[in-house]
């Protein structure tokens, strides 16, 4: 039997998902042994033409990390969709938009102006901007064009499975690899399309060992203003912990270390919007029935939308800020 073919690609992402794959340690050797890796630009020398030369569906599985934010990301998303039997959104950027998706709080115009003119370290008196198409004597040069709105992979192509996390935890990646190998080796059926792999359906709070005792709060605090009690729920201590609005799967890593969950596993099953879920959860812990006091308490939440949607703005209900 020929080896199943594996592709790994990064679009708009930081590279952390690639590191997470390498962080599976010896498993990565097992992956290289079991699969024929046909595309992995971060780790091995491949060109886009190598992918174009493959037949449709020839790649058994592609793990696609990164959001879709440029003409190049878009082209690769479509190409890898066509060439892969199973396309998996790997990591928070592909699944929910993640940190690159925070660009949806502003506009391409504003970002470009800042980077090419206004940032303190930029000297650009002629206001030079990158040109997408440029003719030189040797031929035509082309640069990918950035988009005004960052999209999730699911919003632009058909996706079979999602592995969430920023990045997905190596233990979860190992478990998914084991499951995939088992399916391919033993001819087991694939999980239903759309299944979220390497995570739990329920919220991070379910994995958190901290005690919750319906304590209500009258003010929110920032992490540097408080040494949190090691046993009590952080939200009940007034810290904005995204646990209630975040999918479990990491084993409540941050919370166990005394840091509020930042929400990197995206919304749990049945929740579409992390911000709306947090609005509910926070509504539940505020101790007041006086409208003015409620306004005062919530005004004390630092960077409300940046906190609620740090990892999921493009995938959220409203998708981008109106600018």
């Amino acid at each position: 039997m020929p080896k199943p073919k594996l592709g790994l690609y990064w679009a708009a992402s930081c590279g952390g998902c690639e590191i997470a794959v390498l962080d599976t340690e010896l498993k990565v050797l097992e992956i290289a042994d079991f699969f024929d890796i046909v595309f992995w630009p971060c780790a091995m020398d491949f060109k886009y033409d190598d992918v174009r030369a493959l037949a449709d569906g020839e790649i058994t599985l592609t793990l696609f990390n990164g959001a879709i934010r440029s003409s190049e990301n878009y082209e690769m998303a479509k190409l890898l969709r066509a060439k892969s039997t199973v396309l998996c959104a790997f990591g928070s950027c592909a699944a929910d938009g993640c940190i690159p998706g925070l660009a949806n709080f502003t506009s391409l115009e504003a970002i470009t102006r800042y980077v090419y003119d206004d940032s303190p370290s930029t000297v650009n008196p002629e206001h030079v901007r990158p040109q997408p198409v440029w003719d030189v004597p040797e031929g035509t040069l082309r640069l990918p064009q950035l988009w005004n709105t960052v999209r999730t992979l699911t919003q632009v192509v058909d996706v079979d499975y999602v592995i969430p996390g920023c990045p997905p935890q190596p233990d979860q990646i190992k478990a998914v690899v084991d499951a995939v190998v088992d399916i391919l080796k033993n001819g087991k059926p694939l999980p239903p399309k759309g299944t979220v792999l390497g995570a739990n359906p329920r919220a991070c709070c379910e994995e958190c060992p901290r005690k919750r005792d319906v304590k209500k709060i009258r003010a929110f605090v920032r992490p540097h203003e408080l040494i949190p009690d090691p046993e009590i729920c952080l939200l009940e201590q007034g810290l904005i912990c995204m646990g209630p609005a975040t999918r479990g799967g990491c084993g409540a890593k941050c919370v166990k270390a005394g840091v509020p969950c930042r929400g990197c596993y995206g919304p749990p099953t049945g929740v579409h919007d992390q911000g709306a879920k947090m609005a509910s959860a926070i509504g539940g812990v505020i101790d007041s029935t006086d409208p003015e006091e409620i306004e005062r308490i919530i005004a004390g939440i630092p960077d409300l939308v940046g906190t609620f949607y740090r990892f999921s703005l493009p995938g959220s209900t409203l998708r981008r800020r109106q600018v």
């Binding site: 632009v156 579409h272 926070i282 409620i294 409300l304 409203l318 109106q322």
Partner: protein
């Protein structure tokens, strides 16, 4: 053509929906812009219902519940009272005028008041104009055209 606001209303079953019913039987006149969705309690209004309505074409969302102290489920409306301001703040920070989301208490006997609330809200949203969300839907035709302009393939 003049702009007719498209409004969604979440009305609690026990007070506000009954209030709206009374407005009907009492033949209170008010604009027909509000599309009413009956919920058991204002505490049932998940903030995502509101965001979803705005994302799917509503120009404004009205939530109505029993007056504080009168909720059929004792404290559903207090819950709503804490969630709504956060939702409004969130909507505002997302660049949408928070006046597009409104909370009002309407009792079962306040048919006239219900009519006033709807009239006032309709006029307020009319003055704000339509909520046209930018680039909400992904436009594959535009993305394909851009890609073609790039030569169709990246190196």
């Amino acid at each position: 053509m003049s702009f007719e606001p498209n409004l969604v209303g979440f009305l609690c079953n026990w007070c506000s929906y009954t209030g709206a019913d009374l407005a009907g039987t009492a033949r209170v006149k008010y604009p027909p812009n509000l599309k009413v969705i009956r919920v058991m309690c204002s505490g049932r209004v998940d903030p995502n219902f509101i965001l979803d309505a705005l994302a799917r074409g509503a120009d404004g969302v009205l939530v109505c519940g029993c007056h504080p102290g009168d909720c059929h489920y004792v404290e559903g409306n207090y819950k709503c009272q804490r969630r709504l301001p956060i939702t409004r703040m969130l909507v505002g920070e997302m660049g949408i005028d928070p006046r597009r989301v409104r909370l009002e208490w309407v009792s079962a006997s306040e048919g006239v008041r219900f009519g006033e609330v709807v009239s006032e809200f309709t006029e307020e949203i009319r003055s704000l104009g339509p909520l046209a969300l930018q680039e909400w839907a992904f436009d594959p035709a535009a993305a394909d055209a851009q890609l073609a302009h790039q030569g169709g393939e990246h190196a």
